[in-house]
């Protein structure tokens, strides 16, 4: 446990002086801020058009602007983090191997799991810190909408983003532990996430048995539930299993370093 905390602290310290972490967080916030603004603008416009129509034809407008903005915003967040997560995990193990510090960690009285979990929680914390400023956007919604938007929807959305992020970080960490090269790590991770994304898109249109299976294993389909404010046990179990799988594979791969290092 003490080893885990030491690794966690070291990783966090590293992130705070790393230009990559600031760069990724900055790009992430610019992107999400821009899309948040776009969503608000689009739905406001639609709502005012609907209001104009109702004045002419006498039908009441039924557009829930804050609800639409929140749902679309979290939907977009799910896609953006597919691109952001590889940047956060690519250096996790490759850097240690390149600097030779893996040799220090491996010859210290640490369990492999301490190393793996310490790194995982550190990256997840950085990810959560990156998400934190987006809460400001929700505050904006709260201040300016009447009636107030449902806070449960927002909480479910954040729970979904954090879980999806944790899955991606666990899988990305594993791919990083397989190679010594940051570029290779980020490209393979990126490729894997792209495949996951494509699977999701192709599964959505299909109604065959295969399509249904794909829909079930698509990590984004489960994420949709969260953006609609539904926290389904099956989604929780699905995500938890993927996180455990990713961490388990990483632990095996770190352990295997002892066997194949030349």
């Amino acid at each position: 446990m003490r080893g885990l905390v030491a690794i966690y602290r070291k990783e966090m310290g590293h992130y705070f002086v790393s230009p990559i972490a600031y760069l990724v967080a900055g790009v992430f916030l610019v992107l999400t801020g821009f899309f948040f603004y776009q969503f608000v603008a689009i739905f406001m416009e639609r709502a005012s058009e609907a209001a104009m129509q109702s004045m002419r034809y006498g039908r009441a407008p039924e557009i829930d602007v804050p609800g639409m903005v929140i749902r679309n915003f979290f939907g977009l967040l799910g896609t953006v983090i597919l691109f952001v997560a590889p940047m956060l995990t690519m250096g996790s193990y490759t850097e240690e191997k390149k600097r030779g510090t893996m040799e220090l960690l491996m010859t210290s009285p640490l369990r492999e799991l301490d190393i793996v979990l310490g790194k995982f929680f550190a990256t997840l914390s950085l990810f959560a810190l990156m998400l934190l400023p987006t809460a400001l956007y929700q505050v904006v919604l709260f201040v300016f909408s009447e009636p107030r938007p449902p806070w449960r929807l927002i909480l479910a959305g954040y729970a979904g983003v954090l879980l999806l992020g944790a899955v991606l970080i666990a899988l990305g960490g594993f791919l990083s532990s397989l190679t010594e090269n940051q570029i290779v790590a980020s490209m393979t991770t990126f490729g894997l996430f792209l495949i996951l994304w494509v699977i999701d898109i192709s599964a959505r249109g299909s109604s065959s048995a295969m399509g249904e299976v794909l829909q079930y294993v698509s990590i984004l389909r489960h994420y949709d539930d969260f953006t609609r404010g539904v926290i389904d046990t099956s989604s929780l179990v699905f995500y938890a299993s993927l996180i455990v799988l990713g961490l388990f594979l990483t632990q095996r791969s770190v352990d295997a370093l002892r066997w194949r290092r030349a």
């Binding site: 003490r2 310290g13 002086v17 600097r99 040799e103 002892r258």
Partner: protein, 325 residues
């Protein structure tokens, strides 16, 4: 304290370490001497549990390095060939991190970090970022890292590499001062380092141990093999090869090299003798009786440097080339 038995490590078809056995007693300093690529680093990596052995066993403090790796890792401090540093950390926070992962109790941590800084004489650099340090200072931070948890066994892979002469002397003194309380293995390809710091030497070449003794013993053992240096004038009717054969034919002479000295008709002969054979009088008698003129005869003792080269250079490289270096 350290017991290595029939240790073999193969990378594919290449045996980097082949059937190596040695022991190190508590408080001893063992020097691991060999040319680059001899298998020193591989042996050390097996001892630290970083690499598994192909066959054979290694035990530290009674624990098998592979089976009880965690117990072994608790007891060792290790400086790899390239010091494992985090460039973005300050020296003090790096040592604090290492103390944490080595399991130093929280109450002792600050004290141990200060002690390590003191020992490696880098206290004045404690706030400095590691990436701003020169190579010599980085090497010393690496050394401090291996000492911070006060381990029973310290394994140092080329600890003085990259240091300037003054720093080398300081580090050697530091290593010597650690003996007694700590058991130390250090590898090097610099001979004086071994004779100055180590109690015992293992000379390794191409994965094999070629010699193992105390520093004094090793010198003495091979000092028996003395060299006799001759300067001889060869009369008419005799030539270089006759001289060569005559010296080589003498009992107790292991090898002979003959070299013409320009313009004098004299030859310089280097005869290497076997241990325990003093051939000087017999050689002098034979040379004179066969009509050669003897100008000089003296015995030369082999330095540790020459012994090392003798043990580690293979047959295809002529010894003369080696000794000139």
């Amino acid at each position: 304290m350290i017991e290595v038995q029939k240790l073999t490590k193969a990378f594919g078809a290449v045996r980097a370490v082949d059937d190596v056995s040695f022991t190190v007693g508590k408080g001893e300093i063992l020097g691991f001497l060999g040319p680059n690529g001899a298998g020193k680093t591989t042996t050390m990596r097996v001892l630290t549990g970083y690499l598994p052995a192909t066959s054979g066993t290694a035990k530290i403090a009674g624990y098998d390095v592979h089976e009880s790796s965690l117990e072994v890792r608790r007891r060792i401090g290790y400086l790899p060939e390239n010091p494992p540093l985090y460039p973005d950390m300050s020296v003090a926070s790096y040592l604090d991190f290492v103390a944490r992962i080595k399991g130093v109790a929280p109450a002792e941590r600050a004290g141990r970090v200060n002690a390590a800084l003191e020992m490696a004489s880098i206290t004045d650099k404690r706030k400095e970022l590691i990436k701003r340090l020169s190579k010599g200072y980085k090497q010393r931070v690496g050394l401090a890292q291996a000492l911070v948890h006060n381990p029973d066994v310290i394994i140092l892979d080329e600890p003085t590499i990259g240091l300037d002469p003054k720093q080398i002397i300081e580090v050697r003194h530091l290593i010597k001062s650690l003996a007694g309380n700590h058991t130390i293995i250090l590898s090097t390809h610099i001979l004086p380092e071994v004779s100055m710091t180590c109690d015992r030497v293992v000379i390794i070449n191409k994965g094999h141990i070629v010699a193992m003794d105390t520093t004094a013993g090793l010198t003495a053992q091979l000092r028996g093999g003395e060299k006799v240096l001759l300067e001889v004038h060869v009369p008419r009717g005799k030539d270089k090869s006759a001289l060569h054969n005559m010296v080589a034919g003498l009992a107790g002479v292991r090898s002979v090299q003959t070299q013409a000295l320009d313009g004098t008709g004299r030859y310089r002969v280097e005869a290497e003798c076997e241990k325990g054979h003093d051939v000087r009088s017999a050689l002098a008698a034979r040379i004179v009786s066969q009509g050669y003129e003897l100008f000089e005869l003296r015995s030369v003792r082999l330095s540790l440097e020459e012994i090392f080269l003798q043990l580690t250079t293979s047959d295809e490289i002529p010894a003369a080339e080696g000794t000139k270096r």
